[in-house]
Amino acid sequence: MDPPLDTLAPPTPSPPAGDPATERGFFHTAWDFSFRMGIRYIKSSYKDDPFRTFLELCLIGFIIWYITKQKYNIGTNEITLSDKEIDELVDDWKPEPLVPDLTEFERETLEKAIMIEGPNGTKVRLASATNSKPLLNFASYNFLGFLDNPDIENHAHETLRKYGVGSCGPPGFYGTLDVHMELEKQVAAFIGHSTAILYSQAFAATLSVIPCFSKRGDIIVADEGVNLPIQQAIVLSRSKVYWYKHNDMADLERILKDVNKQLHGRGAKNVLPRKFIITEGLFQNTGDITPLKDLVELKHRY
């Protein structure tokens, strides 16, 4: 029969808190406990394989070293400064003038710039006081002589009376007129392609189209003598660019071969980049014409 409850030994009274002997006892037991657990773990993981224990010790050592080593912040390289120091630096800082002063040559260029009076055409009149005879105009682009054409002027007047002057909006938002669309169709038919897009300014056209298709990671092979809009567009597109000597087809072929070799060398894992050849039909700076037939043949070959 079970002994009645009250005959069991009374529970040992818990010692009052604050007694240093018992506190040490608590930590002592905790330390004791974990020490024993550690020994038990090592014993069980040892499994008669000293190398395994050695490896585990190395790993633990590595973790401790990594956590405690000095960390470097390479990214921003910023110095922390106090507010007062920042104020001083701000007061000290003197920027360059927004635009530098003009040199002597530049000032003369400005003064000598011609101002035209009246319409532009094959013969043009300058606005200077001394010379008011009409002069032959070899300065403006008037290849087909349309500037002197009265039909075009009349048409311009009619358009003004029908459409006003501005389109009041970009083409995306009610700025596309029916005349725009007709002109696009005519330009496409004139050149021989199916569609065309219009831009307001020639410089901006190049600047928009080239970066639209050629992006970072693509390859451009361009003629050295291309004009400034193309050069700026290539900069904006951030593609890799190779220059070939002006109108030199042998040089172009060499570069195309090199580019293809590099791409094959990289392996099939990489995405094939787009490759563009950029040149001008009639060069603005030198007046040459590009050998188009040879160029197209090279394009197909490579």
Binding site: K94, M115, C168, G175
Partner: protein, 582 residues
Amino acid sequence: MGKGQRATQVYKSTEFIEHARDSDGLINGSSDPFKLAPSNSSSLLVDSEKALKANKLASASASVEPAPTTAAAATANYPSPQAERPSELESVPSFILVTTYLSFLMLIVFAHLRDFFGKLLHPEEYVQLREQNGYAPMVSDFESLWTRRLYGRIRDCFNRPITGVAGGHVNLLERVSHDANATFEFTGRVRNVLNLASYNYLGFAQSEGPCADKVEQAMRENGVTQASTRAEAGTTRLLAETEDMVARFVGTEASLIVSMGYATNALNIPALVSRGCLIISDELNHNSLVSGARLSGATIRVFKHNNMQSLEEQLRRSISQGQPRTHRPWKKILVVVEGLYSMEGEFCDLPAIVRLRRRYGFYLFVDEAHSIGALGKRGRGVCDHFNVDPHDVDVLMGTFTKSFGAAGGYIAGSKALINYLRLHSHSAVYAEAMSVPVLAQVSASMRMIMGEDREHALEGQQRLDQLAVNARYFARRLAEMGFMTLGDSGSPVVPLLLFSPAKIPAFSRECLKRKIAVVVVSYPATPIITGRVRFCISASHTREDLDYALENISEIGDLLMIKFHQGKTIETTQTTETKKLE
């Protein structure tokens, strides 16, 4: 004059003034009543005021009065754009945001599925996306997903062709699509619709009237075009006169006219800054400014939209740290902001920026593409609106497309700046000069706004007033109806938030059914969840036009459930007291 004397006291004591003011304290003798503002303007001093107070100049003037700076004194009449503008997304029920995200998710999932099955079943339609014969795909798969699948669904809302003049009403060419917006064909009908979409703020897009007559006369005298770049044979007397007029209009010494608005930014910023300089630009700056900054090769840093604390912090950090890695001091710092942000309808905080400029010494570039001609009592743009001296802004840029009914842009500044740009900017040396009819239109409309046209002396001011009244009325009524609008009071651009991608084309098509033409914008012009419709108010809209539009917009709003603020009390910048909305 008593008022003049007190103005003299305020102005002379501070050394902020760089230009001689005559004894009445007025610049150039112009008697603008807003410059003689009361001195007890308690408003609106931004935190950067502390920096100024530490400056010994400010302490000298503190002995006269608790000296507000000239800009703060004059802005007493206009609330600062920073004051309690509620954050866009705070007051939107989260239900709307969640459904917007879900809609986009669904659209993108469907887009990917359609692409996947399409490539399997109809490979010939995806020719341009795959490699063939060693040619890489012209358009990458991922980039064009948006254009093909999402934008393609709503393509009929954009690029709508018109004919005739884009004035208060416009003639739209009707078109239908039989193959899900891939191609369009014209039915041949022309519909006359109310135009809330074109940038025609002062109503100068006209084919008859005094401006058109002047254009015709100029074309007879000067031919149709210059056919040359400006540096070679493009400078004419007409161009030189128009440049002088623009400089006078804006309030600077000289100006340079460029034939295309976008190119004005893209080609002139590289002439001002280069490698070793820093450009600090607003988050939401226009693409042309970003293009110009990238072309220049300078380092670009961004500050939060219209947040002057963010700008100041960026300035302090940049100046004290110097160039990255070498810590050399920056050669120049150019801060680029816009006068009126067209997608938000907000103004920049020009007085605060000018105060920061005096403290930190950067150069300020303000792009007034939308604000020139449309803001300010005399139409001189954002400087006029805030009563800031135009000489405090280093480079003022603007376009003629919006308020003058022409095309092209200008840069205005000091004579030295413009002379330098004439020689070194790509737009002056390599790009065509502006053509004659456009120049003549600019000249004629500007003369009318300035009131220098003798026969129509009052018409310019009438148009300005009409625009201001129209804009305020429209924005106020929309807010009263419970729509969620953005923008500051007085801005002629009023955006209205739609959020969900399905409501964006729905709004546009419903409006078209009711003979109203509107512009809807979504990603990438705006953040992806805040798709919006943007109304452009014009001086050529009559009160009946606006009421008709408001009625229909209200109906559509009920249909699409976009009246997010209905039944709530909202404190807007348009109303000075809280109004209980119905």
